[in-house]
Symmetry: C2
């Protein structure tokens, strides 16, 4: 049973300002919810169809609410409702060391699907620190949470003033620019911070000034008309190059 | 002005069976429409806001209809209507040579966003032939058309019985499998057909039998929990490796 107040709270969590006020976010589906439970995130409410509630023996039973299909349909942020719907506390980010390892930084990435894909890529390529500018889409946006498929629990994400963060680092700072060096031919560092820019505008001028190496993915197609690559696809290609360089 | 019959026709074009019956598809937005006009696709109807109709001096004026914002809002397949809406004739695919160059083949890719990204990647990496199994999502699906940003005009896409097509080829046939060779360490051919599989099930057993080289993208993350990469992201990484191998 979902109370009126719970419905109101949950609907509100679609918006970043309400997620911030309450410190809560929503996860949907047995698999995604499990990933957060396993990562020991603090559960606030679990709404689950009767036939699946036996899946949660180790969850504090006071937090479990049996829900009807029609209520789930009302609550869901997805096109197709899942079998369970949960509200978790937003965990605190660890403050990363700006001089450690290979990090990824996003300069105002806007699209939730792109951020979700990028978080999965960080998880795949072992990038533990993802630094997001304050205008980057919120990683607890419901679309991002669903797109990351649990990777969100394995990547430390910090929202901060990107310029200040980069100024604290003595690592090489790589940015992708049309005029950059061919990523397949240049030598890239093992440690550094890779910056990926906004979908429409790329890397902002203030951040560009702080880059120490400009790289680019060359176009192989014969025409010059090809649009630039999508930011998530470009991130995939560059992380693949940076990480595989350590193997070659 | 949009007639009732035109509205009915256009609404129908959301479905593959109607696109097939009429041989027509929809493109939205000045930029996307322009790409199809420049590629000399046959225009059937162009609906455009009054203030933008001067942009089409070389289009047969009988095909241009001034449309109101409210009619555009009714017609659009997108969340935000664009300034123009066009109906084009679906062009004939050229029959590709199964023994030429580097080709990409899709074994039942379902998601329109993924197919759109993959078509853009083909354009970027100069892959001229994209072979799709008959259950792969239709490339004239409105979501695919919009996601390709014009790349659809520069890649030849053939829907066919994939098994038969591959049997005609004497090229190496590469497939991605968990147990495949590390893509960063193995030698890959310059000419060949790369197969990418369905989002949930990967490459089907009948197609697997026809592969001559099994490859994989190794996971760098420390945990074994990371989900497999999304098919579009994996395609980006593998095409990048195959094409850059020719440069190293």
């Amino acid at each position: 049973m979902v109370t009126k107040n719970q419905k109101k709270l949950i609907r509100g969590l679609k918006l970043k300002k309400n997620r911030k006020t309450h410190g809560l976010f929503v996860a949907e589906g047995l698999k995604v919810i499990n990933e957060f439970l396993e990562a020991s995130l603090q559960l606030k409410h679990l709404f689950v169809l009767n036939e699946f509630c036996h899946l949660y023996p180790s969850v504090n039973q006071d937090l479990i609410n049996i829900i009807s299909e029609s209520d789930l349909k009302q609550l869901t942020f997805l096109t197709t409702p899942q079998k369970a719907f949960a509200v978790f506390k937003i965990p605190n980010s660890k403050i990363p060391n700006p001089n450690s390892g290979l990090q990824l930084a996003l300069d105002d990435v806007n699209d939730p699907g792109n951020l979700g894909t990028i978080i999965r890529l960080c998880d795949w390529f072992g990038i533990e620190q993802l630094i997001c500018s304050q205008n980057t889409v919120d990683c607890f946006n419901p679309k991002v949470v669903q797109a990351t498929m649990g990777s969100l629990t394995r990547v430390n994400i910090l929202y901060t003033k990107l310029e200040d963060y980069l100024k604290q680092s003595s690592l090489p700072i790589l940015g992708t620019f049309m005029e950059g060096e061919n990523i397949y031919k240049t030598t890239t560092p093992k440690k550094g911070i890779l910056i990926m820019g906004n979908e429409a505008n790329g890397i902002s001028p203030e951040i560009k000034k702080l880059t120490t190496q400009k790289i680019s993915i060359p176009r192989f197609g014969i025409t010059q008309k090809t649009e630039s690559l999508n930011v998530a696809t470009a991130t995939a290609i560059i992380l693949s190059e940076l990480k595989s360089a350590t193997l070659r």
